[in-house]
Symmetry: C2
Subunit: 204 residues, 2 copies
């Protein structure tokens, strides 16, 4: 198995942390993202969306999308379980995970794609009002996370799951690349951040 | 089980079609969406995101998020299978489904939240450039779907899955509410639309 990836990109990092939790070995192939390699016909054969990560199996079959790849890895190596064990836990982890993806990731993404780095690369015509909306909603979501993490130890309950991996990678990306570090007053969010960052597998 | 819903909203429709495929009976409770009921403290206890659908179980446990609810229903009634049967099929359906959600739904959503109906309700300050971007990317995605549906019968392969339900409900919503009906020249997309719309369970 090999993973098409790019250093500093948050989504391949999600897969690599997930794989490390499972103690699975995956060859990493860094592609020329800034040179447009994901938009070339050869790569679009692997993923018509033209995005990384993509997992390529030994027979050449390609799986696109971070969470699709993680589900595949969960099937290969069920322990430690990261997506839930029974009907209700599976559903509740999915709900929490989707709140992170649709209400945090998408807003950090709006701040990123309309920001100066993407504009300088000439990839997207920036919409400043949308960048500001994304940044504002990200900060609002950090406040919600802080309240929720006062009540529980991890994003989806009392144990580490895929939802923590997704939240951590996107918050670290936002802090490093979009100037959206959570405010230092959000002590429960920061305590969670320290708890998940200390896991040996998270810093690879 | 009861489902908090609203007529014409696309996400509750996804759950209702999914449940009908499984021949599961769910009580529907329509809430006062336009009157702000989803933003009141009582509803935020059920779903801190303040959105429908929410599935409430007999013990009062609430599951938010369309796909989380569908996964719960898939656990309750495994047949007909709609999320995949083995590691690879589960991953590939997830990848196709996420392309629909992150590249079609989000763009239809951008056209909707920045459009005249939401603006008239005073819910969001519209950003016209973002509405236009969403509409343009939606049309582009329709063209991609048309090409893909020339090669296969359903969104995720040769059988009906959750990805078809999600695509159908969002396209129908876009056509009815955002003036984003797929162009009549997209014959493969329209042939698929007819194929899935004819399923008895789809029109409830």
């Amino acid at each position: 198995m090999k993973l098409y990836s790019f250093p500093s990109a948050p989504n391949p990092r999600r897969v690599l942390i997930f794989a490390a939790e499972k103690q699975l070995q995956i060859e990493v192939v860094n592609i020329d993202l800034r040179g447009g390699e994901t938009k070339r016909p050869e790569f679009l054969q692997k993923n018509p969306s033209g995005k990384i990560p993509v997992l390529e199996l030994v027979d050449g079959t390609c799986i696109a999308e971070t969470v699709a790849i993680c589900r595949y890895l969960e099937s290969l190596a069920p322990e430690p379980n990261l997506f839930g064990r029974d009907a209700l836990e599976i559903a509740l982890i999915e709900a929490h995970h989707r709140h992170i993806e649709f209400e945090l990731h998408t807003n950090i993404g709006a701040a990123w794609v309309n920001g100066p780095i993407v504009a300088a690369a000439g990839l997207v015509e920036p919409i400043e009002a949308q960048r500001l909306r994304g940044a504002g909603l990200t900060r609002k979501y950090y406040q919600r996370m802080d309240k929720e993490l006062a009540e529980r130890s991890f994003v989806a309950g009392e144990r580490f799951t895929v939802a923590d991996i997704s939240a951590l990678c996107m918050i670290d990306f936002a802090a490093a690349m979009v100037d959206l570090q959570p405010d230092s007053s959000l002590e429960h969010l920061w305590a969670w951040h320290e708890r998940v960052s200390q896991r040996a597998n998270v810093n690879n």
